[in-house]
Symmetry: D2
Subunit: 336 residues, 4 copies
């Protein structure tokens, strides 16, 4: 922690800060500049962070130096490969997850599952419990949808990822799914993070649309610190002033995460753009930037979709996309 | 809903859209412009919204016309006054809520409660369960803190507001508190919204830091549609590129909410700015803009606060502030 | 400047940084923490800033400590009162500027000028040269409009403020106007800033809609450092994700500017909200927050306005507004 | 234009709106819904846009239907290839522009020019006139730097791109450069746009950091409507709440521009991220997303750079990057 004193801070004010630091068993060291005095606080990060230095008289501002996350940090470990019942996320291969926004029925799910498997997907996505902006919108078929997902896994061998909306749902969903998805709107639902942190199933943690990469990593830390080390991060766009796309897909989060963390990161170009016609370009870009996988919305009849139809690909479009993605993956040294 | 066709949309594509509209029992009417054709879809809003028009061939884009919220709408009702066990929020009087970010002990809470009551506060705030960015930070004293809050109410007559972080906590917290607070990070925690919507206690719903006013009203709609009509909205700043303040306090949300909704709205200048030295200016501004109340962090020793010390006022500063606020409230025709 | 070394920085890398610092005649001082080493660079700010420390091997990041502006800083001077030919901006009195977005003719301007003067305005605003998003939109009546403005001043005694769009226009506009306005879109047009910095007329500098308060102050510094000390800042809203208003009016910029600078600051609630029905609430809030004045769009027939009709008040609405503003100004100890 | 009436709009108010439309020689057509009435206004876009409908009594809001740009629109033309004295931008080949942020001397420029040419660049970038945040920072070597750029072109055959900061500089810079660059801070400097629109040299127009893609295209329209059809757009990042990168590089602008415009688009990963270690990932992503080229900062000694050292590649890093980019370009069917 670096503390910057105000120009007119008195000696008594400075002494008071030094005492507070010493009370915690920490050390401090001053740098007397031409205009200002700054103080470095030395010691264990957790102890330092408990003091609200900016509330102390004479202090202009305080700047933390140490990163607030530890278990998610690249300093702990170089790279994590998450093993989803045999499918490796974060390794050499770029992993494709695909499927409908919502599970809307048995037959549609089976059809889509077979199609995306054929095209090269390894994991089937599909919402059973849906977080919707309006209380009057379709909220998902719940347990029935989970049954269909399990049947689709049985039939195709695809693994399954589905969203969990609250801590009480984890027990039920764990029974069916291979990956527990925490959605963007729940990224800071700490009770949910703690609960999935105690699960034995891998977690797909989506970046909140107003979260920085650092905050995403802090939320991953909540899961890791509860014991679950199998966390896959997902970039799905952030909210900005640009209204030509549903969100602004921030692909620079990929090198930023690589730089700071060992956790694998995938990209959701469907929510990231909100427009099916931009999905192909952004999928290629994501893989070129180093993403470990993609999660893509595919619907056999987008115009009948009960949610997110305008951003879903048809199975044919997905098939074409995968063919275009392979050379890009190879061009950056990845398998697909 | 207004649908805009692409310039090169074919007759067959248009017919297809018309059929989909008719299948739902809705009507449509076209406007043939010089360059483009647009179609108005006429009927019940909920039915219209189920169709993903933008996924249909030939459609450029679709624009909803009707507002997505009903129970929160000013068209339902002019003004709601929420009665918090005798304290009226949304009426003539500007209501002050004040207290520490976290309840850190019995004595500190009692002291602060007596001080803020003396200054003019009607409601005591204090966190028992705290949502914290880091899993390693102080998470609140839980039930013990709730007991202290109840004791402070007993001693001072102040009403109590405290945060509820998940649906499972509601039952416990309901027993103690007068207002259930849903924090900004949980604004889209729909399971929590549904649960507090079934409570008999009023709800203080904070605006998510990346939420538009419309989205805040949609989240209020979740609560209202579950039967709880006593919702107080709270502006507490949105996330922008400006990093000189913790958030950007969006006071224009006050006239915007008034224009669209009957629900009362209060302002949190402490989280909204993150700096105790800006709290006074923004408190006055909030009341001048028409806020029904304020919720202000007050700590008897901000530099020892376990959270948010840098944005807390001392009881003396709060006392001075209230004296400055009264003439502003009177200048805009409110009591305080 | 504080330099933070990477955990694995070598001694040679650190030595290299120290040498670079010494080459510039600066001093350095290290703080050896438990996990990291940080170095304070001591000396003249301008010299320090010339070194791109983050490009040096072994450096994680560098954080500037000193504020980048000097002449605009509150450390230079407590408060500036700008004298606009007798009208004082930044003193005890809250100054009202009002008038049409564009000067659309002689008679309309005269009428509006007389009306706003009657209501209490001291300065007449009106665009002669208009920056418009579309090259096909009305671009202002240019010199003819300047003549009308001068005639309105003659007739009413109001002072005049009008926008200058490029360095070449300054000479002409200076002849007519009392204040040179630099618009939000031109806040970083450095050639224009330098040119108005050499003018003898006061400058109204509007905050760019993507500019932080610090950046606004840096742009003021461009003007001040060219010799013109009469700069009035103007908050007019920033661009955010909220699309219910044209911009998000950031009133916390008022205490933030007060805290850092001696320059007066006024608020433009018309552009700040884009909606005439929100102008009254935000005008009161601005004054309550400590603004030194307002600049409000007033048109005698908003629905015929060639620009910004939807955010203009009628002269009657402005008259009512001023009556409501006076008690607010008095409540915060200002005259009006 | 679609006009939505308020629910309680009177017949007289509606009639008034109809009359205003008819006065302009336009037609209107109403759609009477169950809750609301909407009106389509039919006729020439430019005429429609002159009426401020939202200022008329009874009108809730108005939504434009037609795109505001014409000459930049994909409806005018499928694709433009800009010919920079023989180097084609927007064709099959991905074009690399590289060089220092600022031209800092004759020898450094020559050295860098030869290196980047060797690696595969076709165009040399280098600032002669620099827009700097601080008036006290290095502002560029001006005409002397232009001379060096011309000498580097002579020696290497590379074409030249350099920034023009104001309309008065165009004449001088035109003599030397092959492309006139309009920087992000000047994207809405309309006098500059008009002036470069009258030049015979191609223009590189950078997206303002708070500009939507639509606004970028409107600014291109300013140039095109002045007669210069050779405009290259440049994505260089937008300003968001994410502070881990200098800007948020919005690569979805590439498919968005393709979808709406015929103009070529390149990407600046150096300013887009502000960190040299992220440049490679984002360069690959840009090409995979369909960019027509890149503009990359390369400095032979980043740590001595007078500006932007922390985001510059060394010539060796650039050489490695180009080798990595080629397979990506080929993977998406482009030459390099």
């Amino acid at each position: 922690m670096i503390i910057v004193f105000k120009k007119d801070a008195t000696e008594a004010e400075k002494q008071h800060v030094y005492e507070k630091i010493e009370e915690l068993g920490l050390r401090h060291q001053s740098i007397i500049g031409e205009e200002l005095t700054v103080v470095g606080v030395i010691g264990k990060e957790d102890a330092i962070r408990t003091l609200p230095f900016e509330a102390m008289p004479g202090v202009d501002y305080a700047m933390p130096i140490l990163k607030p996350f530890k278990l998610a940090s690249v300093e702990l470990k170089k790279r994590t490969v998450v093993d989803v019942d045999g499918v490796k996320v974060g390794g050499d291969e770029v992993v494709l997850m695909a499927g409908p926004c919502s599970v809307e029925g048995h037959d549609m799910l089976m059809e889509i599952a077979e199609d995306v498997k054929e095209s090269g997907a390894k994991i089937l996505r599909g919402g059973a419990f849906k977080p919707r902006t309006s209380p009057y919108s379709f909220q998902g078929y719940g347990k029935e949808a989970l049954e269909y997902l399990a049947q689709a896994r049985e039939a195709t061998g695809l693994k399954i990822v589905t969203e969990v909306m609250g801590p009480n749902d984890v027990e039920l969903i764990e029974e069916y799914t291979d990956i527990l998805q925490v959605g963007a709107r729940n990224m800071t639902n700490y009770q949910l993070l703690s609960r999935v942190g105690k699960s034995s199933k891998p977690v797909l943690l989506k970046r909140g649309f107003a979260a920085t990469v650092k905050e995403l990593l802090m939320c991953a830390e909540y899961i890791l610190s509860n014991g679950n080390m199998n966390v896959i991060l997902c970039e799905r766009g952030i909210r900005t002033f640009e209204n030509g796309t549903r969100n602004t897909l921030d692909l620079s989060s990929i090198p930023a995460i690589r730089h700071q963390s060992h956790l694998p990161v995938i990209v959701d170009p469907s929510h990231g753009t909100g427009k099916s016609e931009y999905v192909a370009a952004m999928s290629k870009a994501a893989i070129a930037a180093g993403a470990d996988g993609l999660i893509v919305e595919v619907h056999n009849c987008p115009e009948k979709a009960l949610s997110d139809g305008e951003q879903s690909l048809t199975p044919e479009q997905f098939n074409t996309l995968v063919k275009e993605l392979r050379p890009v993956a190879h061009a950056v040294g990845r398998k697909m």
